[in-house]
Amino acid sequence: MLLIRCPYCEEERPELEFRNAGEAHIARPTNIAAESDDDFEKFFFIRANPKGVIYERWRHIHGCARFFNAVRDTVTDKFIMTYKAGEPKPAKLPGAAK
């Protein structure tokens, strides 16, 4: 069982308290009704599904109930870092090659 750090509770909690909520940093267009088919496809259907570093959303559903963002390595399952919803994609990851 993984330990996940909730950036709101500011502590590591067991995986059972959390639920994954899909890829992060996919903003809903402000004027969504005017989106072209291609843009809507990219927004709604297309996901990166990378082997390696993924930016994804989690919810501390059995804790503070907040959604937040996490950076995880899909190969090792290791959480590299977590940060609050709305914060920008981190420019540099801890432990990344300099």
């Binding site: 069982m1 993984l2 009704a33 559903i61 959604f67 919803a85």
Partner: protein, 997 residues
């Protein structure tokens, strides 16, 4: 009476404490502290099982957890029959009953052994080749036959009566394995004051000190030192010592699963003791001290009962006081088997000969063996074992060929060397590295905060092991926050010499030979099978493994993996690391389902949710149905009524008079805040800004792709407060969906969401008399049609308690839903019931609710929709705000497929024969005469007998359904085709007049 092969003065068990037991209905006597294996061996019993594929007679290979052969069934009673128990780890208790497995009619004469003669048929990959065709035969013939023939024990017929405990634990240092290394590491860690857990799979700590007669630590014999050290650890407050506890799985972030066998070794465990306890331990640092496992020699008939690992024979002698034979041969490629020969010889057992593959080895053990007068043959091989139910001889030949000699023996002790137990390290996702010099895979790159010490790290020699382990324990504790310790590390006075061994097939079983030289005993995989797999094109060890099933049995190849790999590598002409090691997976040894399930079974498997009126409904004889976790009253049968009769009566009574229905399970969410209306506008298709306070609206929620996600009636209690209802099953996901948008897409909106599902009990009162039933109990609410029209909500009191009184209808009748705080639910229900009785109202359940709503064409999301249905498809376009510029799903609704012609649309169906009730889910076709497979144009989503209509009614999703009004369609069923007519969805009161009736 002392058993025939018990050596007096040998071993550590007290001869006085006997235990009787039976094996295959024959009674024997053992000693407390024995394993089933040592007790059988003491009685001269070697034959204990038949092999999986060839049904060859098998005995004990080992004295521990790696045992591939000696699997038995332990029977306590009808409900407690544990199959596949390794006799080498099952502790003896007085009265133990064990049976052999996989043989018929008896162990000595097993008819399945014909497979051995027919073995060319059963060679590598035979499952894949033989049982392919015809396809149907797999289900009807092959699988049942294979399962019956390949029985690894039988399951008990009754539910498991035992209970299983579970514990979570945290510690700074978790030490896995309680041999010399584990104990030394635990000692070092413990005295720094941090929390330490030391676990070992055996009943007693000591690991290989159980048989290493040459080990001396701190002035004592190794095993005695281990007992003293563990006693000291047990006395420390910061240390937890777990015996009979196997670490079976190493998961992410130092999370380790262990199973403690609490009572399987006891004669009468008693109800208060759990059978097993699952430990889930999170450790700051883990010290892996799992030792090494001895390998067998791969030669012809190396599976005959009596052929076993040298270390096993030493364990039986030095710990249990049992001689595995009287005239024993030894076949080795390393030094450690000499120690076995020496120990046995000193105990009075004749050593017929030592056969050593090496040319001119030298060392103290060889000198000692020679000094004891043991015959030693260098540069020679045992090319075959004689005998069938028990080994009777070994055939010896110079390893490069030459004259053969047959030596009579009643046991052969083998040692091809030692394989580090890197299972847990590998499970932790560490990468093993191949040491070319020692031909061993040892821990290489670590992935977690753990360290391997001793045998499992490829460290040879007791002195080096204790040094390494003690330092590692101290370091782990320090890294986890411990203080520096003061005690001196244990001093190793004497250890045993060690040397390398060999991998792969021994002479006589090499390339070109077809003898049965077993690599994997449990799955009956021979050296020839591995080579055949390579010839048939398997290149990766993962493929070889699956093709031959080498290492895939319940022992997970503890003794076989390295041999199999070496043979494949030789055949491929590649170095071993290039062929690769197969992945180690949890569990290390088999784990019972019971220990994983723990208390989560029966009533504790899943939570049960009951509404406030549950007790009342039960007392009225209601039949309940499960809806998610909820128990809902399904129908209320009167004496003599079946479901059909009860539902018919309820349906008629509601439309004629009135009925009470518990709707408490509906999800309820309060949306509150200055921006509540704006939020509702974004989450639902309908317009909300202009909904007046005190009015209700039926809302539809979409996903962003335009499909219906949920629906429900929403009441506006105040400009900034909405009382939202959801479907029963949808409540949690709707809440999640709302929170998601509020927190991440619309965080600028000032809104609070609160789940109020369980705070409010909901009593639906429906029917022409509904107002008359409620009104006498209500205070402060004008319930006239003028003051409180259909689809309105008022706050006031009922029976003196607060209520949110909705005027709404899921039946098409004049109706109300009385919301009261859940604690008052039952009392208010009883008061309403008393009023209802005056009018002849009924209590009705979910089945009647379903029929009544279908009569009106009201949909149920999840039944009449399936995640691919738009509001338009469901005939609900009117609920989509056409002037709105944004809501979740607005863009999805305009996708080309969602506006295309010919989409499936919800319509009504009437069977031509009014008495025929369609099956929900039945497919619909336009032309019943077309060839199979027919073109299906839709399916039935809801179907009931409607007593009110005097006929069956149905709803269906049909391609272009609304353009087919009046058309005849067909529902092909196994018993004939049913003709149906496409109709509108409303079967009762098309004009909706009864809402005010």
């Amino acid at each position: 009476m002392t058993a025939a092969f018990r050596i007096s003065g040998a071993g550590r068990l007290s001869q006085a404490r006997t235990a009787s037991f039976s094996f295959d209905d024959k009674s024997y006597t053992g000693i407390e502290g024995d394993t089933l294996a040592s007790a059988l061996l003491a009685n001269g019993v070697h034959l204990v099982g038949r092999s999986f594929k060839y049904h060859r007679p098998r005995g004990f290979l080992s004295a521990g957890a790696e045992e591939p052969n000696a699997l038995v069934q332990i029977v306590r009673d009808d409900a407690r029959k544990t199959p596949n128990v390794r006799a080498t780890v099952q502790e003896l208790y007085d009265g133990l009953t064990a049976n052999s497995q996989n043989c018929w009619p008896s162990l000595a004469f097993d008819i399945g052994a014909v497979n051995d003669l027919a073995s060319p048929m059963f060679s590598a990959g035979f499952y894949y080749k033989t049982f392919m065709w015809p396809k149907s035969a797999w289900k009807n013939l092959y699988e049942p036959k294979i399962r019956a023939a390949a029985g690894l024990g039988v399951s008990p017929e009754k539910p498991d009566p035992d209970h299983y405990a579970a514990r979570y634990a945290h510690c700074e240092v978790l030490v896995l394995g309680g041999g010399a290394a584990g104990i030394a590491a635990a000692l070092a860690a413990a005295e720094t004051g941090v929390r330490v857990i030391l676990a070992d799979e055996q009943a007693e700590f000591g690991g290989s000190l159980r048989f290493e007669s040459g080990a001396r630590i701190d002035g004592q014999g190794g095993f005695a030192w281990a007992q003293g050290a563990v006693a000291k650890l047990k006395a420390m407050d910061n240390v937890r010592v777990l015996s009979r506890t196997t670490a079976f799985g190493y998961y992410a972030q130092n999370f380790v699963g262990l199973v403690e066998r609490v009572s399987d070794h006891l004669k009468s465990p008693g109800r208060e003791l759990a059978r097993e306890r699952l430990w889930q331990v999170r450790a700051n640092r883990v010290v892996i001290a799992t030792g090494a496992i001895e390998r067998h020699m791969v030669f012809a008939n190396n599976d005959r009962p009596g052929v076993m690992l040298a270390s096993a024979a030493r364990t039986y002698l030095n710990h249990y006081g049992v001689a595995v034979g009287r005239n024993v041969g030894v076949y080795t490629a390393n030094d450690s088997a000499y120690a076995a020969a020496i120990d046995l010889k000193k105990a009075g057992v004749n050593i017929a000969a030592v056969v050593d593959l090496r040319d001119n080895p030298a060392g103290p053990v060889i000198d000692e063996a020679r000094a004891l007068g043991i015959e030693i043959n260098f540069g020679r091989a045992v090319i075959s074992a004689g005998g069938k139910l028990r080994v009777s001889s070994m055939t010896v030949q110079p390893k490069n060929g030459g004259g053969e000699r047959t030596v009579p023996v009643d046991a052969i002790l083998m040692s091809a060397g030692w394989t580090p137990s890197v299972h847990l390290f590998s499970q932790s996702r560490g990468k093993v590295a191949f040491n070319d010099e020692t031909k061993r895979f040892v821990p290489g790159t670590y992935a977690q905060d753990c360290v391997s010490v001793g045998g499992c790290n490829g460290t040879d020699g007791l002195d080096a092991t204790v040094d390494e382990a003690y330092a590692a324990g101290a370091k782990a504790a320090k890294e986890a926050g411990g203080k520096a310790g003061k005690s001196a590390k244990p001093k190793v006075d004497a250890g045993e010499s060690c040397s390398r061994g060999m991998l792969g097939a021994a002479p006589g079983a090499g390339p070109g030979t077809t003898v049965k030289a077993f690599v994997d005993f449990q799955n009956d995989v021979t050296a020839k099978d591995i080579r055949q797999a390579v010839h048939e094109g398997m290149r990766s060890i993962e493929h070889v493994k699956r093709f031959t099933t080498n290492g895939m049995a319940t022992d997970q190849g503890k003794t076989s993996n390295m041999h199999g790999l070496a043979i494949a590598a030789e055949e491929l002409g590649k170095p071993i690391p290039q062929v690769g090691l197969t992945t180690f997976r949890a569990p290390y040894t088999p784990v019972t389902f019971g220990s994983i399930v723990g208390h989560a079974r029966g009533a504790l498997f899943d939570p049960t949710r009951r509404t406030a009126t549950h007790g009342w409904a039960a007392s009225q004889g209601a039949v309940f149905e499960d809806v998610g976790h909820w128990k809902r009253a399904w129908y209320f049968p009167k004496a003599g009524e079946d479901m059909h009769a009860a539902v018919n009566r309820e349906c008629v009574a509601v439309r004629k008079v009135g009925g009470l229905f518990d709707a408490s399970t509906l999800g309820k969410i309060e949306v509150v805040g200055p921006d509540a209306a704006k939020f509702m506008e974004l989450l639902y298709t309908n317009p909300w800004e202009k909904l007046e306070t005190g009015r209700c609206r039926y809302g539809i929620m979409l996903r962003e792709d335009g499909f219906i996600y949920d629906d429900g009636v929403v009441g506006r209690l105040a400009p900034d407060r909405f009382h939202v209802t959801t479907t029963t099953g949808g409540a949690p996901r709707v809440m999640n969906h709302m929170e998601d948008y509020l927190q991440t897409e619309f965080p600028h909106l000032n809104v609070w969401l609160t789940s109020i599902t369980e705070q409010w009990a909901v009593i639906a009162v429906q029917g022409p008399k509904s107002r008359d039933i409620i009104a006498p109990l209500v205070e402060g609410i004008d319930m006239s049609d003028e003051a409180m029209p259909h689809m309105s909500v008022r706050e006031g009191k009922i029976c003196g308690v607060p209520t949110r009184l909705f005027r709404m209808s899921f039946t098409g009748e004049r109706g109300f839903e009385v919301n009261v705080p859940a604690d008052y639910g039952e009392a208010v229900w009883e008061a309403l019931w008393a009023e209802g009785q005056k009018h002849g109202a009924v209590a009705y359940g979910t089945e009647t609710m379903h029929v009544l709503r279908a009569e009106k064409g009201y949909i149920i999301v999840g039944q009449d929709t399936d995640g691919t249905v738009t509001p338009n498809d469901a005939g609900l376009d009117w609920a989509v705000g056409k002037k709105k510029t944004d809501f979740v799903g607005i863009r999805g609704l305009t996708r080309s497929d969602l506006v295309a012609k010919g989409r499936k649309q919800l319509v009504g169906l009437k069977t031509k024969d009014p008495k025929v009730v369609l099956e929900e889910g039945a497919q619909i076709v336009a032309d019943p005469k077309q060839p199979i497979p027919m073109k299906m144009i839709g399916h039935v989503t809801s179907s009931y007998w409607s007593e009110n209509c005097g006929r069956s009614i149905a709803l269906a999703l049909v391609a272009g359904g609304r353009d087919r009004m009046g058309q005849t369609l067909y529902v092909p069923m196994p018993n004939g085709t049913i003709e149906v007519e496409v109709t509108g969805m409303v079967f009762v009161d098309e004009k909706g007049e009864r809402l005010n009736g």
